[in-house]
């Protein structure tokens, strides 16, 4: 029985304030609180609350036949916990239905795995604990920031006890094989790999309201029909997208909520199809083969690699200097400093420094609060400078 696996990513970075060189040594608050609140409130009203209510209604209506998964970045959770208890309660109500899986990821929405295995492990454990305490559920599925994936990551994740991991269903690792099957990561024994069907996912996430698209307007019936056409031996269709697709990237006026409301009925109209969460899908289907992925892949840009965050010299310099502080940060044994260091690891800060503007430019600019990648780098490095100095200052203070 083919599974449809719907997972929504919830992430809001902690945007940094404009921080001049002349602020270094004077200003130790790095967050643009007003902007973060403004965006969170907007997204809560346009997406989190109405989408959450609709999902709850659908789950109740279909009596458990409709199931979804979420991954909540720790950075987004921080902001939601502080400011929007209504959003958190909505998520907890969804969790209480038993039809919603919450995935685990790095708490700081970071690229730690690429720089520090120890930091990666600590962030995953921290996130696992937060999800457990907020929703009472043990994470069984892991997804890495920006759907970054490699053999080495899969091995580390298996070692931490997870049963499933998500990745991008790109031809780079699949060759001519289908993304609609469950696979085994090369070198793993138990862990299963679920791959995003990027065509079908992006039909909703990117193309839904595109009037120049040949398939516009996309109805739930048409979309379900595409899903129903998969080959008999294919087992699972993974539709992974940003939660903000619902109401924020695709506004309410585009009809995205009506589409979602009609979707479960249209898909379940075919008796062979059912909804499963990633952990359930991984358990229900045997691995159809092995996937070898020696280098890193991701769900970003046409390249599907890590160059959106670590592709140019500025990004590499910033990351190197950030992780170079790890020893000093740990030596401080100061939870506040550790959390600032983690906040600075969020992948978005590096994404803003991306200079690949001419092919993927539009998406980058839409999400970028800076005028240019150079401004993003300067701002970040000034903050890192101050943070680094603050680590030194206190250690001296303690010796006295």
């Amino acid at each position: 029985m083919p599974s449809v696996c719907l997972y929504f990513q919830v992430h809001q970075p902690c945007r940094l304030r404009r921080y001049s060189f002349f602020d270094v040594g004077h200003l130790h608050d790095y967050e643009d609180g007003a902007e973060n609140r403004r965006i969170l409130d907007r997204v809560a009203e346009k997406c989190y609350l109405p989408a959450g209510a609709l999902l709850l209604q659908l789950i109740e209506e279909y009596g458990g036949a409709f199931r979804v998964a979420f991954s909540l970045s720790g950075v987004a959770l921080d902001q939601i916990e502080q400011r929007r208890s209504d959003v958190l309660e909505g998520l907890q109500r969804l969790s209480a239905t038993g039809c919603v899986e919450f995935l685990n990821e790095t708490d700081g929405h970071s690229l730690a795995f690429l720089s520090s295995p120890r930091e990666f492990r600590e962030q995953v454990l921290r996130h696992r604990e937060r999800i457990r305490s907020l929703f009472g559920r043990e994470g069984r599925t892991f997804r890495h920031t920006e759907l970054i994936y490699s053999n080495a990551l899969a091995a580390a994740v298996e070692k931490m006890g997870y049963r499933a991991i998500l990745a991008e269903g790109t031809e780079k690792i699949l060759g001519r094989r289908s993304p609609n099957l469950v696979y085994r990561p090369s070198g793993c024994k138990k862990l299963k790999l679920l791959l995003r069907n990027y065509r079908l996912s992006d039909d909703v996430a990117f193309r839904f309201s595109d009037r120049n698209w040949a398939e516009f307007p996309l109805t739930a019936a048409k979309y379900a029909h595409w899903l129903h056409r998969i080959r008999r031996e294919e087992a699972v269709v993974n539709l992974f997208m940003d939660y903000e697709t619902l109401g924020e990237h695709q506004w309410r006026e585009t009809g995205i909520f009506d589409f979602l409301r009609a979707l479960p009925g249209e898909i379940l109209r075919h008796p062979d199809f059912c909804f499963r969460t990633p952990a359930e899908a991984a358990e229900a289907h045997e691995a159809a083969g092995e996937i070898d992925c020696p280098g890193f892949i991701s769900w970003a840009d046409e390249e599907r690699d890590t160059t959106a965050w670590l592709g140019n010299a500025m990004q590499q310099d910033a990351a190197r200097k950030l992780y170079h502080l790890e020893t000093a940060v740990r030596r401080r044994k100061d939870e506040g400093r550790l959390q600032i260091w983690r906040m600075l690891q969020t992948s978005d800060h590096f994404y803003y420094m991306c200079t690949k503007w001419f092919s993927d430019g539009d998406v980058h600019r839409y999400f970028n609060p800076y005028e240019s990648p150079y401004e993003a780098y300067i701002n970040y490095m000034n903050i890192l400078d101050d943070f680094s100095q603050s680590l030194k200052k206190t250690s001296k203070g303690e010796k006295r």
């Binding site: 002349f22 140019n312 310099d317 240019s372 150079y374 780098y377 490095m381």
Partner: protein
């Protein structure tokens, strides 16, 4: 197409961007097969551009016939007198001279091109143009800035050919609120009577539409570009690197914002002492700038080169680690493009036309000295930033070509010839 072009400066006789732009535009137009007669007010050093017929207006004999050509109406409305605005408001003329002399005449001023009798010059130039308009055959008139307006209007009237007026700079850019009314009046007349207007940026287009009430549909934006030279390659790798050099290059006048550069330099030197600031150029604010550098006590890290030209400019670019253009009002601004050709990262004022097309430069509001200083420090401090900017700028420059500008201009000629020209007989 045959073009009668009125200019004010042309290499090597020039003091700024107008000459550079005229060279780039005419060379690219000639490359497209157009034939250009370029009229300059005074004897230039001939032979600078083999693709042009260079005509010097000062050598044209003017008969009484040409004097009396309706042009006198415009002449009578103008009082001819020296322009007091050329002297800096902070200095009286005596002070200016004293400063100028104290430098031992090391600094060449730009008086040869922009003299105190500028309006009288423009009108003398206009008279000669009548003769040229009668004797030469051409399809379209292309004039650059207000100095050539009287000449080009007269040529338009005599020949019946359409006039394309190319605005590189307005009186508002040059003088801020202290606008010279006579010059403004000449600009207005030219903008109203021209058949088509070319603005070097959307910024300039907006100013033309707002300050002179010209319908925007008459104005086309054609961005400037940059000419590649041989010397650039030879000098490229010369940067010595011991002490970093931050460069200002341009006329030291109100419009170019030299005072903001000096203030930013002081803020930078306060935290990063090992930097040299260079102010290359000359102008009516130079004395005041020298004084201010003294007041701030940064004289040992701040140098004035005086007016530079030709290879000296190439040399100074190649020695620099950062170029700053803090202009208060810059219709376009070619010099950042020149800096980029030497792999020099650029900080630009947002109040510039060139900032509309450059992505791989840092931008600041000219008045925000602290932000300017902060960005200067960032570029000096982070070699990867300077490197990334230079690398991407190289790609960006490949798309900024005079050939593209010339194609746009030729299309505007065609529109003007087919649609305009007041006394034009159909042909």
């Amino acid at each position: 197409m045959r073009i009668l072009m009125f200019g004010w400066e042309f290499p090597p006789r020039m003091s700024g961007g107008l000459g550079t732009a005229c060279y780039g535009i005419t060379a690219a137009l000639a490359g497209l097969g157009h034939r250009i007669t370029f009229v300059l007010p005074q004897d230039g050093e001939a032979g600078a551009a083999p693709f042009l017929d260079m005509v010097s207006a000062s050598g044209v004999p003017v008969s009484d016939n040409d004097r009396d050509d309706g042009m006198e109406t415009l002449l009578r409305r103008l009082t001819l007198r020296p322009l007091p605005s050329l002297l800096h408001p902070y200095l009286d003329p005596g002070q200016y001279n004293a400063l100028y002399l104290s430098q031992g005449n090391r600094f060449q001023t730009t008086a040869a091109v922009y003299g105190p009798d500028l309006i009288a010059e423009a009108l003398r130039y206009a008279r000669a143009s009548g003769v040229l308009a009668r004797t030469l055959s051409f399809d379209v008139i292309h004039a650059h800035d207000w100095m050539t307006v009287p000449a080009s209007l007269l040529a338009r009237r005599i020949s019946g050919r359409p006039l394309v007026l190319h605005i590189h700079s307005l009186e508002y850019d040059r003088s801020g609120e202290n606008v010279n009314e006579e010059i403004r009046e000449i600009e207005r007349e030219g903008l109203e009577k021209a058949d088509r207007i070319i603005a070097v940026s959307h910024r300039t287009k907006r100013m033309i539409a707002e300050h002179y009430a010209i319908p925007p549909e008459k104005i086309s934006v054609v961005y400037n570009a940059v000419t590649r030279t041989e010397a650039q390659r030879a000098y490229r790798t010369e940067r010595p690197g011991e002490r970093k050099i931050v460069l200002f290059l341009g006329r030291i006048t109100f419009q170019k914002g030299p005072d903001y550069f000096v203030e930013a330099a002081a803020q930078v030197l306060h935290v990063v002492p090992d930097v040299t600031f260079v102010m290359a150029g000359a102008g009516d604010m130079m004395g005041r700038m020298i004084e201010r550098v003294g007041e701030l006590g940064i004289g040992d890290r701040f140098h004035f080169t005086g007016f530079l030209q030709g290879e000296e400019i190439e040399r100074i670019f190649s020695l620099s680690d950062l170029y700053v253009m803090p202009s208060v009002s810059e219709p376009f601004g070619i010099s950042p493009l020149e800096a980029m050709m030497y792999d020099v990262p650029v900080i630009l004022s947002r109040q510039s036309g060139v900032s509309e097309i450059l992505k791989h430069a840092l931008k600041v509001n000219f008045w925000d000295v602290r932000e300017m200083a902060s960005k200067i420090i960032a570029v000096l401090k982070h070699p990867v930033l300077a490197g990334a900017m230079a690398e991407k700028a190289r790609e960006e420059l490949r798309k900024i070509r005079w050939e593209n500008a010339a194609e746009r201009i030729a299309a505007i000629y065609r529109e003007a010839v087919s649609g305009a020209g007041p006394q034009r007989t159909p042909s």
